[in-house]
């Protein structure tokens, strides 16, 4: 198969590119990018690669559209195996490509937990058979995510895990976390921290403060996150391990990361999610379980600090923490609803608001949603880039076209979103993933 995309404004921060060009795709790889109409003249490349798409091959005219490397979402719950009623590898990756995401990292809190190479292999096999996009499993740090004994990190890495996390739960025992960060150095593996001091969180279900008290809901203080962010930064310093902080939600965490990075602490990266820079705890008013998420939605001060952290580079990555749940679980008692937001299909639209608000340039946005996560995960040769030879994962976007979020139309089984009915822009028109072209507009 070969494909020519013409007239596109290509934004690829991995090669500092922002220009209107044509892209040639062949055999699921980016063949080259050249000036419009050059039809195969390898622009600025060595040699004379005469390459014209054979007659009958597809051409997409992307005039007025943006083309960016496919998004890499390093924090997704696909729920399979074990919770197929919430999401499957099939439906989760369909939701991903609808959202412009062409690579997802799936978290290990499945049933059974992805804590052995066998489960990793199962996921990867399913991914090949049923996945609409690329899947990179994240293995558990500890057996059964119990926080006690290290899982077989090396063997899981060799089986295809790209990082390790007990996500959904913290590694509460500091010694176990230290060992994980130390041991991970055998393959330069990435440890992702779900930063939450469970004893301080004390079974809370929303942000601590007046709103929680007056709703009669148990609160989780910002410090429950910040204490663990501080601890894990200290442990990264102690061990030299590669640490990534998941779903940063508080101003205090941003500040801790900022000073650690300034101090030059080993290799620390961090992500936040669209809901932490888009809405506040007010969204849970009326006991809206679709706004119940962990860590909880915080205050306007936190939202502003997260935006500032994205702007100044303290926060490297935007990921979704896509956490689909069944409707029955999200209706009923607020206390009993599982935390989580179905995020894959709204993440780019919500993040584009950062560009409108001048928090990020479009280049920086693509960097944080594609290039940087690919780099952190060690995938930058094939993902998060449109360099020749990379996988032909890309998204074509009409950035000005508005649409209304309709949760009931989600590809994801999880319709649990606090953004239902929102007006957003920049829904992907075309996503190319795993060599397949998905066209919606």
């Amino acid at each position: 198969m070969s494909l020519l995309i013409t007239n596109a404004r290509i934004i690829d921060p991995s090669q500092k590119m922002d220009k209107v060009c044509d892209i040639v795709i062949e055999d699921r790889k980016i063949r080259e990018i050249h000036a419009h109409g050059a039809r195969g003249r390898g622009q600025g490349t060595k040699g004379n690669k005469e390459q014209t798409p054979a007659g009958g091959d597809q051409v997409i005219d992307a005039k007025g559209m943006l083309v960016v490397p496919g998004l890499v979402d390093m924090h997704v719950h696909l729920r399979e195996p074990g919770f197929e009623y919430k999401e499957t590898i099939k439906t989760g990756t369909e939701a991903a490509v609808r959202g412009g995401v062409t690579s997802v990292c799936c978290m290990p809190n499945t049933n059974p937990v992805n804590d052995t190479p066998g489960i990793t292999e199962f996921i990867l096999r399913k991914a090949i058979q049923e996945g609409s996009c690329s899947i990179f499993p994240v293995g558990a740090i500890t057996k059964g995510q119990k926080g006690e004994e290290l899982a077989e990190l090396g063997m899981m890495f060799d089986a295809g895990c790209v990082a390790f996390s007990d996500d959904g739960r913290p590694v509460m025992d500091s010694l176990v976390m230290r060992r994980a960060l130390e041991y991970s150095r055998i393959r330069n593996m990435l440890i992702i921290s779900h930063a939450e001091d469970l004893s301080l969180a004390a079974g809370g279900v929303m942000n601590e403060g007046l709103l929680a008290v007056t709703m009669g809901l148990r609160g989780i203080p910002a410090q429950a996150e910040e204490i663990m962010v501080a601890r894990d930064i200290a442990l990264a310093e102690l061990t030299g391990g590669r640490l990534h902080i998941a779903h940063v939600s508080t101003a205090g965490s941003v500040e801790l990361l900022r000073t650690a990075k300034k101090r030059g602490v080993a290799e620390i990266t961090a992500e936040t999610c669209p809901h932490y820079f888009s809405i506040t705890e007010e969204a849970v008013s009326g006991y809206n379980a679709n706004a119940k998420v962990n860590p909880p939605l915080r205050t306007i001060g936190d939202v502003e600090a997260i935006r500032q952290g994205l702007h100044d580079g303290t926060i490297d990555v935007i990921a979704t923490d896509h956490a689909p749940h069944h409707k029955d679980e999200k209706s009923g008692e607020f206390d009993n609803a599982p935390p989580g937001i179905s995020g894959l299909e709204t993440s780019f639209g919500l993040s584009m608001r950062l560009v409108d608000d001048k928090v990020l340039t479009i280049d920086q946005l693509v960097e944080k949603m594609s290039c940087m996560p690919a780099r952190i995960l060690g995938l930058s040769g094939s993902k998060g880039t449109l360099k020749p030879g990379a996988d032909s994962d890309l998204v074509i976007i009409n950035t000005e076209k508005e649409y209304v979020v309709n949760a009931s139309d989600f590809r994801s089984k999880g319709k649990n979103t606090p953004f239902d009915g929102w007006n957003l822009k920049a829904r992907p028109a075309v996503t190319i993933a795993k060599g397949r072209i998905y066209t919606w507009e």
């Binding site: 403060g209 007046l210 008290v213 007056t214 709703m215 009669g216 809901l217 148990r218 009326g286 006991y287 029955d328 209706s331 009923g332 008692e333 607020f334 206390d335 009993n336």
Partner: protein, 307 residues
């Protein structure tokens, strides 16, 4: 005038005028309760379901008596004996109750927000009889009714609420109601149970009981829930009583004609000394009697909204 909503889920959500309406209506029903035949046909042919997910004797009985005095049929469903133990969801239980012909559902539940959820999802009127640590609106309304009877008005009164404010739905509803009617509210208790952020509601916080009781018109004691013991909120009931137990000596800090209230059931010797509970200042049993009149008013008014 009538209520704006078919439900009473919280004091937070109603206006001062609606509170006054409920209290005035309750005064009328209190007269009925003093008669020989303590019953009116106001809601004849209607069905009230008491759906209780938490054990309760006095609130459930009070609602039951109130409903019967209004001539509605009353069905009591206790969660432990219903299909809830078989894993039925809240909404399914509520829909079943509705299919049985309920016009009013009185719900008590351990999770905050449950009445709000029901109110949104079923057509019957929903009355909150206590949800988690959120609100217990009818208790606050009967407390206001009692204060009004004794003090002939709420505006400008100094009211001290003492104890576990954080976990008390009674305290929350009373705070909102008292503020709406213009009282000055003081909250007294250990900082572990009186969160600082409550200051933003315009109330004054005290950890020193003697200072907090100085010159107040009303002392409202809260039940210390014994299951909070051992959770680190306070070291022991012994130490609690030493610091926040209501003794005769502490009562003397308040105004001479100050009244003493308690929603019950009391822990004598833990939050309140026996001689204080039984003193002439105590209006604790009148609260119980007034509860029936206030709940009659609430049931009557919410069903009026539905027509």
């Amino acid at each position: 005038m009538s209520l704006r909503s078919k439900d009473l889920v919280g004091v937070k959500d109603i206006t001062p005028e609606e509170i006054e309406l409920i209290l005035e209506t309750a005064a009328g029903f209190k007269d009925v309760l003093g008669r020989d035949i303590k019953k009116v046909p106001a809601l004849r042919g209607k069905t009230t379901v008491n759906l209780f997910y938490e054990p309760s004797t006095r609130t459930r009985t009070s609602f039951e008596v109130a409903a019967k005095r209004l001539s509605t049929d009353v069905i009591n469903i206790a969660a432990s004996t219903s299909s809830v133990v078989k894993g039925e969801t809240l909404l399914d239980t509520a829909k079943t109750v509705l299919a049985l012909g309920a016009d009013i559902v009185v719900i008590r539940h351990g999770c905050s927000g449950t009445p709000h959820f029901l109110a949104k999802n079923i057509d019957a009127s929903v009355v909150n009889a206590g949800d988690g640590t959120n609100e217990h609106p009818t208790q606050a309304l009967l407390d206001l009714f009692t204060i009004k009877e004794k003090k002939s008005g709420i505006k400008g009164l100094e009211v001290a609420i003492v104890g576990d404010i954080l976990h008390s739905r009674v305290a929350k509803s009373n705070i909102y109601a008292l503020i709406k009617l213009g009282a000055k509210v003081r909250l007294i208790g250990p900082p572990t149970l009186v969160p600082d952020c409550l200051k933003d509601l315009g109330v004054t916080l005290y950890s020193d009981m003697n200072a907090g009781l100085e010159g107040v018109d009303v002392i409202m004691m809260l039940r210390i829930q014994l299951e909070r013991q051992g959770k680190g909120f306070f070291p022991s009931t012994h130490e609690y009583f030493r610091n926040w137990g209501l003794t005769a000596a502490r009562v003397s800090r308040a105004k001479e004609d100050a009244i003493i209230m308690h929603p019950g059931p009391m822990n004598r010797g833990i939050e309140i000394a026996s001689e204080v509970a039984d003193s002439s200042r105590s209006v604790i049993l009148e609260q119980v009697t007034n509860g029936i009149a206030v709940r009659m008013a609430v049931l009557y008014l919410v069903s009026g909204v539905r027509g």
